[in-house]
């Protein structure tokens, strides 16, 4: 629901994190007022009380005061640390991917948002989601930087070329909320956006049923894998297979030629398709051709979804280890806790 008041001071609070962000905001307003009062009162009182009464006066010198200086260095430091800790806690909550979230794939391109649900429904510049359900967006961009921003949910994340980023939220209130692109992306940047519809579960199911689903991402990926891109000719299994085994891959730790290891997450799978020579799995030859330029970001997410589906119960596997970058990643502790080879 849009706030229809005359001057809207606050956006709707429509996600689990919104209340936390607003609480932090009010705390900072309180700190600001508490800090400003002595300064502003001091300026006014001194300016009036000590206004010049004589031309070129020579008031008594005061050099400073170690005690006062220390006090007003120490107090701001302590207060700023409370602000830091408060912000850090909320930040962790915002970017720790929940387990068992409903996954939606989002691709940004100049100048639209394309979303595809796990059940296959596609939408453009709209996103329909059920209320009180953790939603995880896996996001990619076809061109430049974008940023998926829903002010009513108090969260956003950049979408970065060449990798996946993730955003999650849990909407708490049915309604229609602004969706923006918050990272400047060229000519029609301010037109790149639309609405997020938060629906009661039943309404959402009706919506899903009423929208022809076509193929699901996994089905599209399977089709690409087996027919269109012929990935299966090397990766299908069997004794003569030249490509690495993909069953049970997602979420596992992969040994690489040259000694390193990597966790097989979304980015790893994506990179292995775009740039196969980059991270070659131990025991295999670097003979796979690059599919760069032959697959769109949407097809890539479908392929990733398909590879993921080859690992049973992989939906809640880690997004990526924190060290590899990406704003929306799990803290390392959670990543390490995920079972090898998916759950």
């Amino acid at each position: 629901m849009q706030n229809t008041s005359w001057v809207p001071f606050f956006p709707e609070q429509a996600s689990t994190v919104a209340g936390m962000v607003d609480a932090l905001y009010f705390y900072l307003i309180l700190v600001s007022v508490a800090f400003s009062i002595p300064v502003v009162v001091g300026i006014f009182v001194f300016a009036i009380k000590y206004r010049a009464k004589e031309k070129f006066a020579t008031p008594e010198e005061i050099h400073g005061s170690m005690v006062l200086e220390s006090v007003w260095s120490f107090i701001p430091f302590v207060v700023s640390m409370t602000i830091f800790v408060g912000g850090a806690l909320v930040y962790f909550y915002q970017y720790t991917m929940p387990e068992n979230a409903m996954e939606i794939y989002v691709v940004g391109k100049q100048w639209m948002w394309k979303a595809q649900h796990g059940t296959g429904q596609r939408e453009i510049n709209e996103l329909h989601i059920p209320v009180n359900t953790p939603i995880k967006l896996t996001m990619a961009t076809e061109d430049v930087l974008h940023d998926f921003d829903i002010p009513a949910f108090r969260t956003k994340a950049d979408v970065v070329p060449g990798r996946y980023t993730y955003l999650w939220f849990n909407a708490t209130k049915p309604g229609k909320y602004h969706l923006y692109c918050a990272e400047y992306c060229g000519l029609n940047h301010s037109g790149m956006g639309g609405w997020v519809y938060v629906m009661e579960r039943r309404d959402f199911d009706n919506w899903l049923a009423g929208n022809a689903s076509g193929q699901t991402p996994v089905e599209i990926g399977k089709d690409l894998f087996e027919a269109k891109l012929s990935c299966a000719s090397c990766h299908a299994g069997g004794p003569q297979q030249r490509g690495a085994k993909l069953e049970g891959l997602y979420g596992s730790t992969v040994k690489l030629v040259g000694g390193g290891t990597v966790t097989a997450d979304d980015d790893y799978i994506r990179n292995s398709i775009i740039n196969p020579a980059g991270q070659v799995v131990e025991g295999y030859q670097p003979i796979m051709p690059s599919f760069k330029g032959q697959v769109t970001e949407e097809q890539l997410t479908a392929l990733v979804a398909y590879v993921k589906s080859l690992t049973p119960n992989a939906a809640s596997a880690p997004a990526a280890p924190a060290a590899s970058g990406g704003p929306a990643q799990m803290p390392a502790a959670n990543a390490a806790a995920a079972p090898k080879g998916g759950k």
């Binding site: 020579t58 005061i62 990272e183």
Partner: protein
């Protein structure tokens, strides 16, 4: 009215001044006099400020209505980009250092000139070259990447004059580096006898800190622009992932310069305000050492917080936390300055001349600018606020509310010294108040708009946000009037203004102990400093009794 010549502790000269010493074009263009160079900077920088201001006016007019109607989006994108580029690289960065610093720093430390006068002239020519190239690019069609030049939009997708403008900024950067280098060498080697480090005016300390940032930070932006050029021309993958680069790398490099650049813009302003508050309350600055070292602390910590521009951009959660922590730490020295300025007023003898009104305005606006910086440094909150109008409002409070107000205060403060003329105090006060009111009306509503979620760089916005945008545009009109007025009455004063006394406010600083305007050599006799900074009593050697009797103009 002009009786002061008799009573100032004169190192000045009756033989003429730097303005009358040669009137040919060559005597200006080939001058080695830091004061003439500063005047030429003043003229050029003011022109860029006016251009940037016209772009700002266009932005506010477009945002009067929710739809993109006055300007189509492509034009709007160019307008806000060019507003940012002109204001930051060609106005804010050179404003106080290259004009007031150039003019006043040698005078304040008792030197005849900067240590390297030819390098100083060279830095002006480099600034002109960078500026002309940028203007040329703007006339050819301009640039639409945002002043941040984020990749891969700037390297691969934008069809605007990215390379020409980038080259303009690249060239301009060397002007900054040379100025910073010159200041550091000058402060180390050219101080008059008795002018010890802790007798330096805080304006000089602030310029020392600024210069450190200039010479250490600016090369990084030059390197970054060069890498963009290499990627665009030779197609080496540096920032564009399609050819093997990383767009986040660009952001790291860009902000490694551009965050410290914020301190290039604000530290000199803090220096000016320290002068104004101390001198117009005739009170030694409270905690001189704390203010001096807090400038250095800000300059050093300023290099460690660039990642707070990238909280949602793809760096790791842990990097975000570290940068948030450091951002909170860098807030402390600014808080210290705020308290010290306030405490300086205590038991002072405060006059409300135009420069002091600007100083009060600075304190109010920088207070809000600084505090809202805490909102943006608190990482969980800034995920919501980043890339919205909250950020726009915050940095305008710091850059305009801080630096521009301090710059105007400094221009009014030293105008009698620079030109030898007094401006209309009445119009000065009116304009200082209009700027303060207009500024708040323009930018305070933008904090609310930002919390509402209005993204920045939007040519069109939802209708429910229009009321606040109307306030903002109305405020911008008031601000515009307040900023145009000084151009008129200051120019007017050059011809019709009362002749300024050498030391109209009877202040202890060395710059006030020479003639107004100063002779080319600054001082006829080498000054010897026997007093501490900001001593207003008899120990500073000024004959205050005589000044009181002689009815020197203070306004």
């Amino acid at each position: 009215m002009q009786a002061s010549d008799a009573i100032s502790t004169g190192y000045g000269s009756a033989k003429g001044n730097y303005l009358t010493n040669g009137s040919t074009l060559a005597s200006w263009l080939l001058t080695k006099d830091h004061k003439r160079i500063a005047i030429m900077y003043l003229v050029t920088v003011s022109m860029f400020f006016m251009m940037g201001g016209l772009y700002a006016a266009a932005i506010r007019l477009e945002l009067l209505t929710p739809a993109s109607d006055l300007l189509e989006t492509g034009t709007y994108n160019r307008v806000f980009t060019q507003h940012g580029i002109l204001m930051i690289f060609f106005f804010l960065i050179p404003s106080i250092p290259a004009i007031l610093g150039n003019f006043m720093l040698p005078l304040m430390i008792g030197a005849k000139d900067l240590a390297m006068p030819r390098i100083n002239l060279l830095s002006l020519y480099i600034y002109w070259a960078g500026g002309l190239l940028t203007l040329y690019a703007l006339m050819q069609g301009g640039v639409d990447t945002g002043w941040t030049f984020y990749t891969p939009y700037s390297t691969t997708f934008s069809n605007s004059y990215v390379m020409a403008v980038g080259l303009g900024i690249f060239i301009n950067g060397f002007s900054s580096i040379l100025t910073g280098l010159n200041f550091i060498v000058t402060i180390h080697t050219m101080r008059a006898p008795g002018m010890t480090w802790f007798r330096l005016p805080l304006f000089v300390w602030a310029h020392y800190a600024t210069s450190l940032v200039m010479i250490l930070g600016t090369p990084v932006i030059a390197i970054t622009v060069l890498l963009v050029a290499i990627e665009r021309t030779v197609k080496v993958g540096i920032f564009d992932p399609a050819i093997g680069g990383d767009p986040i790398l660009f952001q790291h490099l860009f902000w490694f310069y551009s965050h410290p650049a914020v301190y290039i813009m604000i530290l000199p302003g803090m220096g000016v305000v320290s002068e104004l508050i101390s001198n117009f309350s005739r009170k030694k600055i409270f905690g001189y050492e704390f203010i001096a070292f807090s400038s250095i602390a800000i300059a050093v910590f300023g290099f460690l917080v660039w990642g707070h521009h990238m909280f949602v951009s793809g760096q790791s959660v842990y990097a975000g936390l570290v940068f948030s922590f450091l951002t909170m730490v860098v807030a402390v020295p600014s808080a210290i300055k705020m308290f010290n300025w306030t405490a300086t007023l205590y038991k002072g003898s405060i006059t409300f001349d135009t420069p002091m009104l600007y100083a009060f305005g600075f304190m109010g606006l920088f207070l809000i600018g600084g505090l809202t910086g805490l909102f943006l440094g608190s990482v969980g909150l800034t995920v919501h606020l980043t890339d919205t109008y909250f950020v726009v409002a915050h940095f305008h409070y710091v850059m305009v509310g801080g630096q521009v107000i301090a710059y105007l205060g400094g221009i009014h403060y030293w105008w009698p010294k620079m030109t030898g003329r007094m401006y209309s105090e009445f119009w000065g006060k009116i304009s200082a108040m209009l700027v303060f009111v207009g500024f708040n009306l323009t930018f305070f509503p933008q904090f609310i708009l930002g919390y509402q979620g209005m993204p920045r760089r939007y040519a069109a916005y939802p209708e429910e946000l229009q009321v606040l945008n109307i306030f903002s545009t109305a405020g911008a009109s008031v601000l515009g009037v307040g900023l145009v007025m000084p151009v008129v009455y200051l120019t007017h004063s050059l011809v019709f203004g009362a002749k300024a006394a050498d030391n109209p406010w009877m202040l202890p600083g060395l710059e006030w102990r020479t003639s107004s305007p100063p002779p080319t050599e600054n001082f006829d006799v080498m000054p010897v400093v026997t007093w501490e900074a900001y001593e207003f009593g008899e120990e500073n050697g000024l004959d205050l009794e005589a000044a009181r009797r002689s009815d020197v103009v203070t306004a």
